[in-house]
């Protein structure tokens, strides 16, 4: 059975909590004691019906304010798949949380209220999903019951969204008309909308093809940890542990190690359960090489005829996440990219992107919390990277403020050079 990780986004009151509650409820993922707890709370709050949205309202502070302020993870399964939902808050000020939840998602689910159509938040969510290159985007046009399950209302919102999405890099876009409250097209096909020919949401989530979304072409193995048992039994053992970040590795493969440039051959791919014939992402394995060369954490093992960019200058889109200071040119930060940590300087801030209009404001001078912009970085050490669009693992990084140790930016590499 495979996993599907998906992120949900929607502006407040579009029905996101209700939808998730419904998915959990209809797939029988809600436990009796949880149900009793929300029944009691619903009564206390004076709700007539059980409020399924309460299921996903986590922390007490949020309960009091009635909003979702942080990414919450939910789990459910059907006989076909296991699902992890990264439930992300919709407010502007929580763009960073949405990015957190979306960074590992295979699919993004954006909710739109059929009565209101595409609003600023929908555009931002769609844009962030495309920026993070979530391969599949599902737009749930919700509250169809409030527009009489009218096909035209659905088509209008759909066209509006499509027009915006054309400007984005979205490969797989699906629209589903639904009523989360009444369960239309969530798990079961809606009898109120016979004009809709597509799948209900859950069926779509079960079927969408994701294994080919990962990069299985460019072999990349960032060395994470060197294993040297130094026991009698494994006296000369020297293994390079890590998670495959791209492509496929097999014993006998000729490899090159960066930055040293030494070449060798994969002697074996070890795991606790014995050697394996091949390793691909996201397997965590240990490579042994035929030659004794000096390799440490942060080095990159790849194939001689297919190497990542190696260099100190990179172009990237960053989302700034600090509420205490803005990003400014000449700023110095720590970077964590694959298993390598270095320092970088922001050599240029070319433009800020307006996430609603996609307008580029040139030379903005600084980037504030939740703002997205294009930067040039120079690092103190060479980094081994690919474009984010080609490989989410070797194309992503985080920036860390060295004074507070906070993670202050998420970065997606666009290219090399200045």
């Amino acid at each position: 059975m495979e996993f599907l990780r998906f992120a949900t986004a929607g502006s407040v009151d579009d029905g996101k909590s209700t939808l998730i509650g419904r998915l959990l409820y209809d797939t029988k993922s809600i436990f009796q004691d949880q149900m009793e707890a929300i029944e009691a709370t619903s009564k206390q709050m004076g709700n007539e019906q059980v409020n399924l949205a309460l299921l996903t309202d986590g922390l007490r502070a949020e309960r009091e304010q009635g909003i979702t302020i942080d990414v919450a993870y939910r789990y459910f399964a059907t006989p076909k798949r296991k699902f992890i939902i990264a439930d992300t808050p919709g407010h502007t000020q929580y763009t960073r949380n949405m990015i957190t939840g979306a960074s590992t998602a295979d699919l993004a689910l954006v909710l739109i209220d059929a009565r209101h159509g595409v609003v600023e938040q929908s555009r931002r969510h769609a844009f962030l999903a495309s920026l993070l290159r979530i391969p599949h985007l599902v737009v749930c046009i919700n509250k169809m019951d409030l527009v009489d399950y009218d096909e035209k209302a659905f088509e209008t919102v759909k066209e509006e969204f499509r027009n915006f999405a054309m400007k984005l890099d979205v490969t797989d876009l699906t629209f589903i008309p639904m009523s989360a409250l009444h369960g239309d097209n969530v798990v079961d096909r809606s009898e109120n909308m016979p004009w809709y020919q597509g799948s209900p949401l859950l069926h779509h989530l079960e079927q969408v093809h994701i294994s080919s979304d990962r990069n299985h072409v460019d072999a990349r193995f960032p060395v994470q940890y060197v294993i040297r048992p130094q026991t009698n039994e494994h006296h000369d053992y020297r293994g390079y542990a890590g998670t495959v970040a791209g492509g496929v590795f097999k014993p006998g493969d000729e490899v090159v190690v960066l930055p040293s440039g030494f070449t060798s051959t994969v002697a074996s791919i070890d795991t606790f359960n014995g050697p394996v014939d091949e390793a691909f992402g996201p397997m965590s394995v240990t490579l042994r090489l035929t030659d004794n060369i000096d390799i440490s954490r942060g080095d990159m093992i790849c194939r001689p005829n297919n190497q990542p960019h190696a260099g100190q200058d990179l172009q990237a889109m960053v989302c700034w996440m600090s509420d205490t200071k803005p990003l400014t040119p000449r700023m110095k930060l720590a970077i964590k990219h694959t298993t390598r940590t270095a320092r970088v300087m922001v050599t240029d801030l070319q433009y800020q992107l307006d996430v609603n209009t996609l307008h580029r404001q040139m030379a903005p001078g600084s980037l504030g919390l939740n703002e997205i912009g294009r930067v040039t970085l120079r690092s103190t050490q060479p980094l081994f990277f690919d474009e984010y669009r080609r490989n989410r693992n070797t194309g992503s990084f985080v920036l860390i403020d060295e004074a507070s140790n906070d993670t202050v930016a998420a970065g997606m590499i666009v290219g090399s050079g200045v």
Binding site: Q34, D57, A61, Y75, I99, I227, F272
Partner: protein, 304 residues
């Protein structure tokens, strides 16, 4: 010709993610430690840690925060696993903390050493200067946990600030500590109870016998079965009867409830878990029942 699809099963993906986290922490922290209670989650964690560093030994010790109210079967299991793996065990003893006057024992029929664990744990962290503690919490267990990051930062008092969590992106973990901070790391955050059982089955991992159905003298309190033991005071209404039960979690004997069950094998447990309609914590932890926000409050205080 066979067509390779490069698909990993969900258990393989979970395992790979956990192993990645173990290695990352071992690479970036100076003094990690794995919290080991002998419960199924910590057993799976130990197994994953072994996988992460094989054929080397674990590059960090295990720590048992010992309330003194242990199931004998679990203690026996703990010691055997320590011997087999050659790992180093640190025992942080609540009894010792009581004897030293660091904490005061609660009294009355509902007395529990649960809260005292926090002080004992924090003392041990300070004594051994641990900077990263692996814990077996899962996000499916409880609402407050659903929002916790894999790396959870704690201040000097072990407190968690849910509003001030670092964003956690891709599989890039920021492990930089401020003065006086340490982290709790949750490598099995994304596992569900069912995943744990399926993995125990697939990997053929031995677990303590209390997890299987057995005859035990129990009494009913708050709709769950508590084991008769020297550590709990019963009221006159709380009558003991022998029943067929098993545990879904193991912890302090005085507040860990058993469920009625006939499940004698992992297969049967999986069947029961798949059909069960009560969350693990709801069914078996007296301490979480106090209020819906109980877990959140305790976390802020420095509990696991």
């Amino acid at each position: 010709m066979t067509i390779t699809t490069y698909e990993l099963s969900h258990l393989d993906q979970l395992e790979a993610e956990s192993v990645h986290i173990f290695r990352e922490v071992a690479a970036e922290f100076e003094r990690p430690c794995l919290l080991f209670s002998g419960g199924k989650d910590s057993i799976v964690m130990l197994h994953l840690a072994q996988k992460a560093f094989w054929p080397a030994r674990l590059p960090f010790p295990l720590m048992h925060v010992d309330t003194g109210h242990n199931f004998p079967e679990v203690l026996e299991y703990r010691d055997r696993r320590i011997e087999e793996t050659g790992a180093r065990l640190v025992v942080a003893s609540v009894q010792q903390a009581i004897d030293d006057g660091r904490v005061a024992e609660e009294t009355g029929p509902r007395a529990s050493r649960n809260r005292l664990q926090t002080t004992t744990l924090l003392d041990a962290i300070e004594e051994h200067r641990f900077d990263a503690l692996f814990g077996g919490a899962r996000r499916d267990e409880e609402k407050a946990r659903a929002k916790e990051r894999v790396y959870s930062f704690r201040d000097d008092f072990g407190q968690w600030d849910p509003k001030n969590q670092r964003p956690e992106l891709w599989n890039l973990y920021n492990g930089r500590l401020n003065q006086g901070e340490h982290i709790r790391v949750f490598p099995i955050s994304n596992w569900t109870e069912l995943d744990i059982w399926q993995y125990i089955q697939r990997e053929n991992i031995e677990i303590p016998s209390v997890y299987f159905a057995h005859q035990r003298p129990v009494f009913s309190r708050d709709n769950m079965w508590l084991s008769e033991s020297p550590y709990v005071t019963r009221s006159d209404q709380e009558e003991v009867a022998t029943r067929m039960v098993r545990y879904r979690t193991v912890g302090d004997m005085s507040c860990t409830g058993a469920v009625e069950s006939e499940a004698q094998t992992i297969e049967e447990i999986i069947e029961e878990v798949s059909a069960t309609r009560i969350t693990e914590r709801g069914a078996t932890r007296a301490d979480d029942r106090v209020s819906e926000a109980a877990m959140e409050d305790r976390k802020k205080e420095g509990y696991f």
